[in-house]
């Protein structure tokens, strides 16, 4: 049980590549912190720095009131679950879990108690004598968790632990991990690139991009009030529609805008906040005229991909997110307009997000 603080943490590789560009945040005791971001954003590197597997170029990492920069991984009082589980292939499940405890010189009876307790929690009791290769993916995953639990560490570190599982198992294990963490009340840091995992697991969510923190907050705060266009398009699926507006258009749209300058900006609206049934909104919302290009029926909901009739282009914050000019509308059920039809999609004013033209700042409207 411990707070974890990162103070201006940086990592520069010998080649000069700056992987982590100064990160500050604090995780309170018992919180579940999720680091999320696209691949290459430095989230795994940051986790490995907390674990002690990567050196810290500058700054401080503090676990439970102790700066751990120079402390060996084994002495940091952490436990880590790896993406490929990293189980010892030649050891039984029991020994995989007991190994770390034995290395610490813990008395045998206590090791036995802890391992059996963990095995019971994780429903591994009947498998203690098996080798990892005799287990399914989900069971291996649980052994990896067990190895972390028996240590009773101050901090759990998870490095994309679910990405090797199939979709169904991933959802089940996600819930398991959350329940387990709630029960053990151990501070946890969890790395993932899956925004759904991030949203559902996190007490505090850290969105990272390019070695920097884009936004920190509770998942719903981040969803409701993304600080940058990057966060806006990364959190939420499908991503938020982003539409470039000129300064004049902004002033026309938002009469009460306090900014007088004729600055251009980016308007954001989530697919789920657009509706094609309602009439034009009277409260200062927007209406988009769209030509339907494609339909995706998921069952409970349907995604309508349309291009905007007018000339303005929607911009995408990260390449490959949304083609220019395309807008996604999420509608409930399976009834969708025909392809090629013209539709009007409207959103209320309080569902609109406005960002500066470079996408780096959120503007309150």
């Amino acid at each position: 049980m411990a707070n974890v603080s990162l103070r201006n943490v940086r990592k520069t590789y010998p080649g000069g590549f700056e992987a982590i560009k100064g990160i500050d945040f604090e995780i309170c005791d018992g919180q579940f912190c999720v680091l999320v971001g696209p691949s290459g954003c430095g989230k795994s590197t940051l986790l490995r720095m907390v674990a002690g597997l990567e050196t810290i170029t500058s700054g401080e990492i503090d676990i439970g009131g102790r700066v751990v920069n120079e402390i060996e991984p084994a002495d940091r009082d952490i436990a880590m679950v790896f993406q490929n589980y990293a189980l010892y292939p030649h050891m039984s499940v029991y020994n995989n879990m007991a190994y770390g405890l034995r290395n610490r010189g813990m008395p045998k009876p206590e090791i036995d108690t802890r391992v059996r307790e963990a095995a019971q929690t994780l429903e591994l009791t009947g498998m203690l004598d098996r080798k990892p290769r005799q287990l399914s993916g989900g069971q291996r995953q649980r052994v990896a968790m067990g190895r972390a639990i028996v240590r009773q560490p101050k901090v759990f570190l998870f490095d994309e632990p679910l990405s090797n599982l199939d979709a169904k198992l991933r959802v089940a294990m996600r819930v398991e991990i959350r329940k387990l963490q709630r029960r053990l009340k151990t501070t946890s840091i969890y790395v993932t690139h899956d925004q759904l995992e991030a949203m559902t697991l996190a007490d505090i969510l850290v969105v990272m991009n390019g070695g920097q923190v884009e936004q920190i907050g509770s998942p719903l705060d981040i969803y409701r009030r993304p600080a940058t266009t990057f966060v806006a398009s990364f959190i939420g699926a499908p991503p938020m529609n982003l539409i470039k507006l000129s300064g004049d258009e902004i002033r026309a749209q938002f009469a009460g805008d306090r900014r007088s300058a004729a600055e251009a900006g980016i308007l954001g609206v989530r697919p789920e906040d657009l509706s094609i049934s309602g009439a034009a909104t009277a409260d200062g919302g927007i209406t988009l005229n769209l030509t339907v290009e494609a339909i995706e029926r998921v069952g409970a909901e349907t995604f309508v991909y349309g291009t905007r009739a007018r000339a303005e282009k929607a911009v995408s914050a990260t390449p490959g997110e949304l083609p220019e000019g395309e807008v996604i509308v999420r509608i409930p059920g399976q009834d969708a307009p025909a392809i090629g039809a013209s539709i009007r999609a409207a959103a209320h004013r309080d569902k609109l997000h406005l960002f500066s033209a470079d996408g780096r700042n959120r503007i309150d409207i």
């Binding site: 952490i78 880590m80 790896f82 990293a86 292939p89 050891m91 190994y99």
Partner: protein
């Protein structure tokens, strides 16, 4: 799928059978020769069926030696060969696994250089460096000792390369998990690398045991006492006689005996050996 054609199959089997015959026939002749008395073997008409002197020949070969007093019995030569082959095989495994561990897992200055120097020794087998090696062993007063037989043959790169390749297939996360589990370099080696390397070690053991067992030139060069002779050089000496008939029946019995330990090693370690070469268990 290769199409099966009757005549192709027959031809293939015929060629293979012929090949097996060529390889096996001399061994068969040796086996037959070792069961006859000296007169039958040297009269020029080699019988194709076993004779009646089997027990006598093998008893003499193992415990007494040839008719000349100076000749060592095979039992002792087998022992020498066994010590040498085991020494080379085990010594090589120990040296190779340690050097491969150093080269793969430790960052030290001139690591790559060290690896390349080890690699270059591949091009310097004993036969090439035989004079300097002889000089070194002689200066160290290791002539006619087991150490002299074993040490120069241990130093080569094959094993190091084999272990290095194997270690590089072990995922880094295993090392990291060990570090988090509080295992230092020694514990990681003992608890994780060694158990995972068992099949590779078995493969190397088989190869090196046979390599050591079959050494001819080096033992011939540095052993002068009969009591340090290995079986491979011993067989040769049995056939070099000046004023009497070579005892072919004893030489053949010795040859058959000399084949047994390597065959036993291959047979007993075959399963581990094949797994070590083809499958990496991770």
């Amino acid at each position: 799928m290769v199409e099966h054609r009757r005549w192709n199959d027959i031809l293939a089997y015929a060629i293979l059978t012929f090949g097996v015959f060529i390889v096996v026939f001399p061994v068969y002749v040796a086996l037959i020769a070792s069961t006859h008395d000296a007169a039958t073997v040297v009269n020029g008409n080699m019988p194709m069926l076993p004779g009646s002197h089997t027990l006598e020949n093998y008893y003499r070969a193992i415990f007494i030696g040839g008719s000349r007093a100076s000749r060592e019995p095979v039992g002792h030569m087998l022992m020498n060969s066994f010590v040498m082959a085991m020494g080379i095989a085990l010594g090589k495994i120990v040296i190779s696994i340690l050097s491969a561990y150093a080269v793969v897992y430790f960052r030290f200055p001139f690591r790559q250089t060290a690896f390349w120097i080890i690699f270059v020794t591949l091009m310097l087998p004993v036969e090439v460096r035989i004079y300097p090696t002889y000089k070194v062993i002689a200066d160290l007063k290791m002539l006619d000792t087991y150490a002299g037989l074993i040490l120069p043959l241990i130093a080569s790169a094959t094993g190091t390369l084999l272990f290095r390749q194997f270690f590089m297939t072990i995922p880094d996360e295993l090392l990291e998990a060990s570090r988090i589990d509080g295992a230092g370099p020694f514990r990681f080696f003992k608890d994780t690398l060694l158990p995972l390397s068992v099949t590779t070690m078995a493969a190397l053991f088989v190869i090196q045991f046979i390599y050591g067992w079959n050494q001819y030139l080096w033992p011939l060069l540095i052993t002068t006492q009969e009591s340090m002779q290995t079986i491979v050089t011993g067989i040769k000496k049995m056939l070099t006689t000046t004023d009497e008939l070579a005892e072919w029946q004893l030489a053949m019995a010795t040859a058959i005996l000399a084949m047994l330990p390597p065959v036993a090693v291959v047979v007993f370690m075959q399963r581990l050996f094949v797994r070590g070469l083809v499958e990496t268990e991770k």
